[in-house]
């Protein structure tokens, strides 16, 4: 798009990638004003190298409170890659002198992130039944990363999470009795800080996982990584919002809790199913609050139609919270 940005990126790439002569096909993938994702090819005589740039442009350094920050994300991906967790290689961390903002460049991994394709396309049919177990194993490896080599991250537990959600909810100044019911339930059923405190990915779900016909190829987007209860990641991936219609398959619409747990335990992890369920409730509320946050951003100046419509999806989490906390009839949400 911008000539100077592409020229700057080319200058940056040729400075550290031996033999590279420039870049080609730079296109912006997604992201808001504060963070951008670009796809491009590193032009190289031995064959072009697919690459992804994640950056916050200069002047957008201040990360939101929850975000780990791009420098931390780069370190997390390097550690994950080194530990054999499916992860793109980090090729370069942006330096201030390059004037490209903060961020990093990683290898581009081929595969799919769009949930409806992963859940419906024929090429994933054979791998779908194996995914939940695979992801359980991947999560266990993430939780086993040595904290000594990891960046500074927030430390969270149920009480701190509830406090943040309560504050955010009160900040909305719009009554949602079902959210009050959920917050009350979370307070009344708080299991306390986890006996094991580990790295938590924080956003391990569809969209942040690159899936191929052979299974999971990469874990992306460590923006919400923190230290806390490892069961949080297992609960988050079971949140109904990530089942995309396949509501009887709790894990991403493709798998069972049993398979997820079995994969986790096969890697040597220990599952506390009650804690996982607790975090599923927390996660459902958290996604609901995130929808409300989209509506707030729409109200406060960003006139994006998409954000406005995501605001209207908060009610989806209300029905899911009721299915979890006040189920009608005898069958419980996803409980099989």
């Amino acid at each position: 798009m911008s000539e100077s940005f592409e020229a700057g990126l080319a200058r940056c790439v040729t400075s550290w990638c031996d033999g590279a002569t420039g870049i080609a096909g730079a296109s912006r993938l997604s992201g808001g004003a504060s963070q951008e994702t670009w796809s491009f090819d590193i032009v190289h005589p031995d064959g072009n190298i697919g690459a992804i740039l994640r950056r916050a442009p200069a002047g957008y350094g201040a990360a939101p409170e929850r975000a780990a920050g791009l420098d931390a994300e780069a370190v997390l991906m390097q550690r994950a890659h080194a530990a054999g967790i499916p992860s793109p290689p980090v090729l370069h961390v942006l330096q201030p002198a390059e004037e490209l903002g903060t961020g990093f460049i990683m290898g581009r991994i081929a595969g799919e992130t769009i949930p409806r394709k992963i859940l419906r396309d024929e090429i994933f049919a054979a791998v779908r039944p194996k995914l939940a177990r695979q992801l359980g194993g991947v999560l266990c490896k993430i939780h086993r990363l040595d904290p000594a080599g990891l960046p500074q991250l927030r430390r969270m537990n149920p009480a701190t999470e509830i406090a943040e959600l309560t504050r955010d909810y009160q900040g909305m100044d719009w009554p949602r009795p079902v959210f009050d019911l959920a917050l009350r339930w979370l307070r009344d059923n708080d299991p306390g800080p986890s006996p094991d405190v580990t790295l938590v990915h924080g956003d391990f779900r569809h969209g942040n996982l690159i899936i191929g016909a052979d299974g999971v190829r990469a874990v992306l987007d460590w923006e919400l990584a923190h230290f806390g209860d490892p069961m949080e990641d297992l609960g988050w991936i079971c949140v109904n919002s990530w089942r995309f219609g396949a509501i009887d398959q709790p894990v991403g619409g493709f798998g069972t809790r049993e398979d997820l747990f079995a994969g986790y335990e096969a890697e040597g992890g220990r599952v506390d199913a009650a804690r996982v369920m607790y975090w599923e409730v927390m996660g459902t509320l958290r996604w609901g609050m995130m929808c409300c946050g989209m509506m707030q951003r729409f109200r406060t100046g960003d006139r994006s139609m998409e954000r406005a419509m995501i605001g209207r999806r908060a009610s989806e989490t209300e029905i899911d919270l009721l299915r979890l906390l006040a189920p009608r009839g005898i069958t419980r949400a996803g409980g099989r």
């Binding site: 079902v178 009050d180 406005a308 419509m309 999806r313 989806e316 209300e318 029905i319 299915r323």
Partner: protein, 127 residues
């Protein structure tokens, strides 16, 4: 009194034009945005069609549950506070039914295709 056609009729006609005549001409990001826009128009039509009756019923339930009157927003604030403070909970007669009905009425406007909603609707029909 405003004249005909009604807002619902106008919005429905615009949405149909966008869906049938414009959408097939677009690709990529514009096509996606148009789909979001059409969804928004459809949502507004559902709200204009359904909300008056569901708001009235919600208001009636809230007045009974809280034994007081006020605007729909005020009563919802009071119920939210009562749940937060624990003076009202799922053991309170009528609370669960009220929350379910209110939520079902919201989904009927917001996302009538949401799978959890469709499942609960089936349950209501079969019971």
């Amino acid at each position: 009194m405003q004249d005909e056609p009604t807002p619902v009729e106008l919005l429905t006609a615009v949405a149909a034009f966008l869906r049938d005549d414009i959408a097939p001409q677009l690709t990529g990001a514009s096509a996606f945005k148009l789909r979001v826009g059409i969804n928004a128009l459809d949502l507004v039509v559902r709200q204009l069609t359904l909300a008056q009756a569901s708001d009235a019923a919600e208001h009636e339930r809230l007045s009974a549950l809280l034994a007081q009157d006020g605007s729909l927003l005020d009563l919802n604030r009071k119920l939210a506070e009562a749940i937060a403070s624990g003076t009202v909970d799922l053991a309170t007669p009528g609370l669960a039914e009220h929350l379910w009905q209110t939520t079902m009425d919201k989904l009927a406007v917001d996302q009538p295709n949401y799978a959890s909603y469709r499942r609960e609707l089936e349950r209501e029909k079969s019971s």
